[in-house]
Amino acid sequence: MKTDQLINTLANDPWPSISPAGLLLRSLPVALAVSAASLALTLGFRHGWLDAMSVPLVALKWFLPLFLGLFGLAVLLRLVRPGANASTLRHAMWLVPAGAMAAMAYAYATTPAAGRWAAFVGESVVPCLISIPLLSLPILAAILLVLRHGAVLYPVKAGAIAGLTAGGLGTAIYALHCTEDSPLFFTVWYSAGIMAVTALGAVLGNKLLRW
């Protein structure tokens, strides 16, 4: 086929109806609803969640992962567009781990030495480490779908950021259930769960995001 003929063929294929951002707006709410419903049907939501959130240090366990997810979505919506500049936003994501470190340091300083170990191990490390990746999976799937529709230039990096984002949002959902309120617990174990999803995202990105 000559190049002119190829051009003529391509021009007969109508413009796709949906942009990556449009697809995200459709797929992400579904995924979030699936995750939230799974949590509601299994572990259930925490009683008095709003009251708990009125303590700023406790509210962080919801806001930090939520911000991580929102930052991540903003970065990803740029990564799907070749030539768009995502680096400023990508660097701004480091604010979230920095905030987590600060919260942990503050909690370490203000928790009496005798209570630190108990606060750190809490009572639900295992459910936390299992639930966060599971609740993040539907979200990761929705995001990878969007990235495939888009055009990412660095599949592993984009996959990792997809995992980080899905992990953040999945954790924000898990935090609707979790009653461990010390930053010594949640900054560590939430981060561990999110890192697992990040690693999974990088592996899947490598396989699914080439074009």
Binding site: M1, T9, P82, L153
Partner: protein, 183 residues
């Protein structure tokens, strides 16, 4: 002059995005010599035929990812990023490493087709691997220049079905190219 050219691309692609297939075809025609220039500048020692294969690969990629461009953005940085990505990729799969500078199209000299805008082998071989009806649709439009309506009438398909077949065929072609050259 360079900026005029890029503003013209943006105008054409914007019209294409709004549904004007004619403007979209003009856009593809306008960028083709420039993309050929990029491929040729990188592909010293590459025959004009193989260069044209890579050019077609880039065009197909630009086409299949055209919805990742937003009408409010200029076309050139987007187009250059895709081109660079696909050219590096195409050369890598052919066992060569090339360096495509990060900047933009400013340095590129538009290249006319070499020898008779050759019948390109790669694309032809890929089309043969499509399922028969998709291959028939792609050939009818590309090579025989039939309209979608004519093909629909001849193959007893609705125009919508012909377009879906075409779209799937083009996506499949791009996937096949990925795998084919790797083997």
């Amino acid at each position: 002059m360079m900026l005029d050219r890029q503003a013209e691309w943006t105008k054409l692609l914007r019209a294409g995005n709004a549904g004007d297939a004619r403007s979209y075809a003009l856009f593809l025609q306008a960028i083709t010599p420039v993309l050929r220039g990029v491929v040729r500048a990188r592909g010293a020692g590459l025959g004009p035929e193989e260069g044209e294969d890579i050019l077609q690969e880039v065009l197909l990629a630009v086409h299949l990812k055209r919805h990742t461009w937003r009408p409010q953005d200029p076309v050139a940085p987007w187009l250059y990023a895709i081109t660079r990505h696909k050219v590096v990729d195409a050369f890598r799969r052919r066992g060569r490493r090339v360096f495509v500078p990060l900047e933009d199209f400013a340095e590129v000299i538009a290249a006319p087709p070499g020898v008779d805008p050759t019948e390109r082998g790669d694309m032809e071989r890929m089309i043969a691997l499509l399922e028969p009806r998709a291959a028939a649709v792609v050939r009818a439009i590309g090579i025989d220049g039939e309209s979608v309506a004519e093909i629909g009438a001849r193959l007893e398909m609705s125009e919508g079905a012909v377009r879906v077949m075409l779209h799937r065929g083009l996506k499949k072609l791009s996937e096949l190219r990925e795998r084919f050259v790797e083997i």
